[in-house]
């Protein structure tokens, strides 16, 4: 996993979604019990990733939104250098 991308995503989640930084790990379940994100948050994540990396995640599968790790993997695979 690209740590640099993961760290940027983490910072974006903390800023945009007011998730307490100390409660957010790379493997925290974003939409489950751990953090409890919902559909409005997913819209915000899509905008945030587009903004940071130019990667469009709209319409992509739920499995990509599981954690910072899966988001990072998606970005790595779809990022155009």
């Amino acid at each position: 996993m690209n740590e640099e991308i993961a760290e940027k995503i983490k910072k974006m989640l903390v800023e945009r979604l007011r998730i307490p930084e100390d409660e957010l790990e790379y493997d925290s379940e974003l939409f489950g019990e751990d953090i409890g994100l919902d559909s409005i948050d997913s819209i915000e994540i899509i905008v945030g990733l587009e903004d940071l990396f130019g990667v469009d995640m709209s319409g992509s599968g739920k499995e990509n939104f599981q954690s910072i790790r899966t988001l990072t993997q998606y970005v790595e695979e779809h990022k155009e250098d």
Binding site: R16, I19, P20, L37, I40, E44, V47
Partner: protein, 755 residues
């Protein structure tokens, strides 16, 4: 047998929206199925997936030359028409008996946009724009424009505000505190709302098509104003009467901050409450002007609610006029009220437009037996009609109009009301700081089992309301569950609302474009989000209103809540005042020239939230509640001055105090302590000191919460009452009073008695 409540009648109407510049032209379009939706002209929408809007063609100056925010100007235009239509000659009326109650969602968003755009683009921001920002300014400015000295309020419950304002106006008339109201709603077309709904993917790409394709809303702007007056007053001046306003119902979903409950429970509760408060059977309703926004979530929930309640009632017709006016947010309920009254007058049901081809068949399947009117109006004798409005925050409101007079039995009582719980969140001045800020660390919320996943959604204003609200409930030992969730209600009072979140959202839109609004922040930009979160967390499903009306809103909310209990609508009300303080508010107050030393050169800002539990005697006895004090009396009085002035309003303060004493049945000498409102603005402090020394000729002890916690605006007003309640035990006499003021010349006084 209980007595009947006062008849409230509609004697005048005014309307401005995308359909036209007056009620007649709007109605001509609406009843011929002509939509006002076009491509957005107010700003560029190049980067957006939708370009549709329903704007008013008139410029600010063409609406009115007073120089107010566009939302206010739209309202002045509609109100002028309504007053003329009602033949109301203000010069020959008692101006103190004519009030203004308006609904708004976005308030002064256009002025917020202008102020921060100027600043972003390197121009000098105009400090005059600062006083145009809060929703609090609107009703007072409209009253000042027409020279009215009656009660004002701004009901800021997002998209239900326009309907709730009409209900509130009727309630005040029925309580005997006014004869006539300029009532309705107003909202301008704003980048704030457009960017917000765009971010939520809630805008329809094409013209919105409620109950049809349901792929989103089209935003509109406008104002609908109705002249509502007591029948006696209307009859005495020989006014024409369009129809009666019967009762209304207000409820909360306690479910989600933007989405309605999918099972429609909250919507059905509002509809049932409206019918019960109107003494009307659901089967008597001939037409419902639906909320019908065009989002799939709303339309599905509303189809379900209507089908569940009205089943296969072939006598009920339903339509959504938003298909032509767009969704005018806080003005929506008022615009739809005008069109519903017009429907009664014409004997015609206006259509929902935009159906073609297979749409009709699909509609027939979805509508069950209910007669949904598509594309073309239908002739029908309409006797009893309902209008529905459902809002962000899970607020639901329904109101009923009747062609003929109907007898409504008074379900209320005059039993004592007690303060049985208090939650206080106040600020402290840190070393080296220049204002008082509250500690809102997560631990304080965790103590009350507020989870991180819930808490992180909240902006500062919502955090304040939530914390004081749950502390007040805990203090009163109230547990909300299925057995009492509908018997508890909420009134949030505020001066400035969630201005930090609004400004941060607006700045983002200015910097990054309308297509880049934040879906996360947008729900918090509506003033009633805080009350919504409180209802979601606690499970409170009863009455829920947010009033923005200057600093005194923290006391006006208590009065409002007491009236809800008196009418028999709820047993327990949670009411109080909240205002937040961040660097954003600090800068705005500083730039407006209002800051000083708190003694004679201006205010020292504070923040906080104070919630009081108000409880009927019956409920307090049944629960064995601890009683801080009894609410003995209250009054609000105004003398119209512009929102940035207070000079010349001494008489209104004297009236508020005098009428509050009178309603408590006591004399000035009976009051031992008065909690005043001196805050360092000389003109305000002089008005208070002179009125108090004039009325309390034998002297009275004056206490002031602002010396310890700063000018926390609506929170200070509510804190004054909370502290008076807590002081009761140690008082030599039996009575204490709390008084507060609001910009624009409005005052509220509340009298407490030892319980």
């Amino acid at each position: 047998m209980p007595e009947s409540i006062k008849r409230c009648v509609i004697t005048g109407m005014g309307l401005v929206c995308a359909l036209g510049d007056d009620a007649a032209s709007c109605a001509a379009s609406a009843f011929s199925g002509k939509s006002g939706i076009k491509d957005v002209a107010s700003f560029a929408t190049d980067g957006c997936y939708s370009h549709k809007g329903a704007e008013v063609a008139l410029s600010d100056d063409e609406l009115c030359k007073d120089g107010y925010d566009r939302t206010t100007l739209l309202c002045i235009k509609a109100a002028g028409e309504a007053i003329a239509d009602a033949g109301l000659d203000i010069d020959s009326e008692d101006r103190k008996r004519i009030g203004v109650i308006l609904g708004t969602c976005i308030g002064g968003a256009a002025s917020i946009d202008k102020y921060y755009t100027d600043s972003y683009e390197g121009r000098a921001a105009d400090k005059n724009d600062i006083l145009k920002m809060p929703a609090s300014a609107i009703a007072n400015n409209v009253a000042a424009h027409f020279g009215l000295d009656g009660i004002t309020a701004n009901i800021v419950n997002a998209c239900a505000a326009g309907t709730m304002s009409l209900a509130d106006a009727c309630d005040v008339i029925r309580s005997g505190k006014a004869d006539v109201f300029i009532a309705g709603g107003c909202d301008s077309f704003s980048s704030l709302a457009y960017a917000g709904f765009h971010a939520l993917h809630a805008l329809s790409e094409k013209e919105c098509s409620p109950f049809n394709h349901s792929d989103g809303i089209t935003i509109g702007e406008g104002s609908g104003v109705l002249i509502i007056e007591s029948y006696e007053h209307a009859a005495a001046r020989g006014a024409k009467i369009y129809c009666d306003v019967l009762g209304a119902g207000v409820s909360s979903d306690a479910y989600h901050i933007t989405a309605p409950r999918p099972d429609g429970e909250g919507q059905m509760s509002a509809i049932r409450r409206a019918a019960a408060n109107s003494c009307v059977d659901l089967s008597e309703i001939d037409y419902i002007n639906a909320h019908g926004t065009g989002t799939s979530k709303n339309d599905e929930a509303e189809f379900l609610s209507l089908n569940t309640l009205f089943g296969s009632d072939p006598d009920l017709s339903v339509s959504s006029t938003k298909s032509m006016t767009g969704h005018c947010l806080g003005a929506a309920g008022s615009i739809e009220a005008v069109l519903t009254v017009e429907a009664i007058r014409r004997g015609e049901v206006p259509p929902t437009v935009g159906y073609e081809g297979d749409d009709f068949e699909v509609l027939e399947e979805k509508s069950g037996g209910i007669d949904f009117i598509a594309n073309e109006k239908k002739a029908k004798d309409l006797k009893v009609c309902m209008s529905n409005s459902f809002a962000f925050g899970g607020n639901n409101a329904s109101i009923i109009f009747s062609k003929e007079p109907r007898d409504i039995k008074n379900a209320g009582n005059t039993d004592p009301i007690y303060i049985t719980g208090i939650g206080e969140v106040t600020g402290v001045m840190a070393e080296g700081a220049s204002d008082y800020r509250a500690d809102l660390s997560p631990e304080l919320f965790k103590k009350h089992e507020v989870k991180t996943a819930f808490l992180r959604k909240l902006d500062r204003f919502s955090e304040l309301v939530l914390l004081s609200g749950i502390e007040a409930l805990a203090d009163a030992q109230i547990k909300v569950d299925d057995t009492n969730s509908g018997d508890v209600g909420i009134v949030v009072g505020t001066s400035d609302g969630p201005i930090t979140e609004i400004v941060n959202f607006q700045k983002l839109v200015i910097e990054k474009g309308i297509e880049n609004g934040s879906a996360f922040m947008f729900p918090n930009t509506v003033y009633n989000a805080a009350g919504g979160y409180l209802s979601i967390f606690t499970g409170i499903k009863g009455y829920n209103v947010t009033i923005a009306n200057g600093f005194q809103a923290g006391l006006q909310s208590v009065m409002h809540a007491c009236e809800v209990i008196r009418r028999g609508e709820e047993d327990i009300m949670l009411a109080g005042g909240t205002d937040e303080l961040t660097d954003i508010e600090h800068e705005l107050y500083e730039n407006a020239g209002l800051l000083g030393n708190g003694k004679d050169s201006g205010i020292v800002l504070g923040e906080g939230s104070v919630s009081l539990i108000l409880e009927s005697a019956k409920s307090a006895e049944a629960r064995g509640s601890k009683k801080y004090a009894q609410i003995a009396g209250y009054a609000t009085a105004r003398h119209s001055v512009p929102y940035d002035k207070m000079t010349g309003t001494e008489d209104a303060l004297s009236r508020a105090i005098g009428e509050a004493l009178e309603s408590a049945g006591i004399k000035a000498d009976d009051v031992s302590v008065i909690y005043g409102f001196a805050d360092g603005i000389s003109i305000v402090d002089d008005i208070m000191n002179s009125a108090v020394s004039e009325i309390f000729t034998n002297g009275v002890e004056i206490r002031n919460v602002r010396t310890e916690t700063g000018e926390a605006r609506a929170a200070s007003a509510a804190l004054s009452l909370a502290r008076a309640a807590k002081d009761m035990e140690g008082l030599t006499g039996d009575y204490a009073m709390a008084v507060s003021f609001g910009a624009g010349g409005i005052y509220t006084a509340v009298v407490l008695k030892k319980a």
